[in-house]
Amino acid sequence: MPKRSDDLREKLIGLGQASTRKSYYPELKERLQQLELFRALLESAGDGVLLLDADTLVVLDANGAACRFAGLPWEALTGRPLAAAFPELAGWKPRLAGGAEDAEPQDGPRTGAWHMADAVPTATGEERRLIRQPSQGGGLWLELALKRHDIGGRPYVSCIARDVSERLRAEEELRESERKYRALFEAANDAIFLIRDGLVRDANRRACELFGRPLDQLTSMAPRDLSPPEQPRSGDTRLVEEMRLAKALGGEPQFFEWTHLRADGAPFDCEISLSRFTLRGEPWLIAIIRDVTEQKKLREIMVQTEKMMSVGGVAAGMAHEINNPLSAITQSAQNLQRRLAPGVPDNEAAALMAGVDLERVQHYFELRGLAKLVTNIREACARAADIVRHMLDFARRSDAERSECDLSVLLDRAVELAENDYDLKKRHDFRNIRIIREYTPGTPRAECAPTEIEQVLFNLLKNASQAISRKAYPQREKPRVILRVGTQRGVPGLPEGAGRSDGSGEPATPGADADYVRVEVEDNGPGMDERTRVRAFEPFFTTKPPGEGTGLGLSVSYFIVSRNHGGHIIVESQPGLWCRFTVLLPAVRRGA
């Protein structure tokens, strides 16, 4: 018989190698081994794993981490309620409803699921709860995730306890850091935009103030939506914006000047720094926008001051040099007249010697109008001397007497003077101009030389009157001058509430700590274009027809205010609408 048949027969009659009646034991051993392996895995887990009886929440089994969290050995942890291990759960009773309802937690309230106070039900039917567990090292924060299971028809609850102390600490640190940077962000005096994909995604409080828009409006806009279509220096807004954003995104920080628009359409100048940072893998831009309007004004004043001082110096030097020849001419003309006059012994003696009748010579002079010519020379000299004297004043501190003056009184006096001025009366009757007085009550006094300041204010009124005379008023508008007296605090030369004619701003409230007394003279004449405005205080600069003014009035005023009084004089204008001169003089501190 072949071998194979033998084998088959052996097997059939139960004598084969594997001919043993079935036994579940080997399989069971394998499963037990798997269980042991599983147990070892559970033991090595960092999370605590507990098996609970669903009805009593008595711990049936627990791994090493669970024992560690509970601070109990396995024997003490098992067989006792969960709350014995985790005291914070004391008094907490989960309600377990019938198993049948548990199957459908989708619709409506989870009536079938079991409930816990402060527990968070999750989509997977898990209940989570954060507890603080006292331990030797202070305390642990444990996140418990409890879930119901039916094993072999018996309800159990599994409880996974995770030590989240470290995570919570990190989260708290993160929140603190977030608060810190949020504070920095919000407290910044510059507007800050966070930009992604060309749109503003976040903006700080200062940005809302600066642009005059609420946050939710800003966060849907592109920077170009907040700008005029053209940039005064660099051209087309859209193109420049694209270029700047692209460069910054390319990792090249940008710093440039820009003109933005407020919500009301008013432009303002700013300096922008644009740099890139990465957030969750995405490139963002941070734009820091500094409003440089005030800086520019300050710079302008500084330039103005410097210019005026140098011009003043040159003018004074010239005046000084001209003064001597002018005196010679004046004296010579005077002498000429005197030496022709009859009745003077020296003249009579000289005429006798020359054999000329002095009276005839006189007659000849009259016939030829020579006497008149000499008078003209003298008068011209007097005028030149007057100019020279003014020019000398540029470089000279006045020694006029100082006193504490109420500027509204000085202003009223200047108005009176203007009303009676022959010159003004003759050409542009000052009385036809409506005078509006906006004097802030309680304005402190300023220490000044009253005659000089009166002269300055008179000059300003005269200027206003002359400007008004050059404007053809439409039907409804009447010539008017607004006079304001108030105070100002802070940076000299930067008027608070500038542009009051446009209705914005409020007069500064008078106070003991006011730095300046502020006097404004605002006319509604033709105003000044920018070119005129920046040169307004230059000596000999005038817009009047030749001969109508020396072009020294405002220069003199400037030097009186700035050099003699340590104050400021500023001119602002909206061409065609208004022009305003502001004089700031150091206030007398109350109580000082």
């Binding site: 004598l15 594997a18 043993t20 009646r21 036994s23 080997p26």
Partner: protein
Amino acid sequence: MSDYELRKFVAPEFVFGYGAAGLAGRHARNLGASRCLVVSDQGVAAAGHTEAVVRTLRDEGIACATFLGVSENPRDTEVMQGSEVFRAEGCDAIVAVGGGSPMDCAKGIGIVVANGGHVLDYEGVDAIPKPMPPLVCVPTTAGSSADVSQFAIIRDTPRRVKIAIVSKANVPDVALVDPLTTLTKARNLTAATGLDALTHAVEAYASNAHSPVTDMFALEAIRGIGTALFDVLDDLRDRDARARMALGSMNAGLAFSNAILGAVHALSHSLGGLLDLPHGECNALLLPFVVRRNFTAAPRRYRRVAEALGVDGALGAGGTLAAPDDEVRDALFARLGDMRRRAGFDKGLAQYGVTRGQLAELARLALDDPCLSTNPAPLDARELEELYAEAL
């Protein structure tokens, strides 16, 4: 009593034949064993059977720990020691090599390692909750049949009684019945175990729980043992006679494990427990007296027993007129006594050291034995005491 009442027949998977012991390793492996506790005794170990089985286990890559601390009439203490060894050695299966004592001890060890507690906790019937680890039995005596039975008899040392643990969970997973292992048995042991096997068969056949299936095994066992025992005793080296003896013993085991026993075993367990007397010899001594006492309760059964043992006129077959009950009874009584004497046992209980004063106590203990419940005739303590007295 109908032959067709509900009956269950429980038997292990078994291999019978020359060389069956060599299959121990293969079967242990198939049962998932990786480290076996081999339970045996000094005598069996000295005969080399233990080592031979261990070798087959090692050949299959199964590690072994050997426990030889088993005496005749295995004690509860020995069971507990064995289970300690099992646990300490990290065993996962048991192989018993030897006669009834190592096999019963192995069952006890299995019960304790699976269920915990003390072996005496599981006294009684069907009182083992959890199944034991795989158990392979390699019997070396043709007698006890613990290799196929659901019985484990353990001596309760403090109480000096033998307790019976009867449970289907006691049936081994595999029995490897190898007649060659019985060749080394001495004459006396061969005789005692042979008469024990005969007692098993007779009591199972007469049992009030017998069934057609058990009857088959029981009668075949009685016939086989009746001739084989004396062939073996004539020539201890006769392999085939040894094999017939082993087969008879196994058949008897299959029968009594399912039909259960009777008064002989109840009385014998008492003697073994109280006085530590040899089980087979006690059975041989008591069997004739119990049969005589029971005869009228199941005359047809005992007639068949007598017929199987070659008593003339026991059955009215073939035209022969059957002898009356009392004649057959006395003839059977005489035949059983003759067999015992022929096997070499002629002592009465007194000669084993039993005194008349102990009989009441022995009877009282026998009355509690579960084997008494399947005895064909209900017996009370007085009747049991009388039986002891007859055997004195």
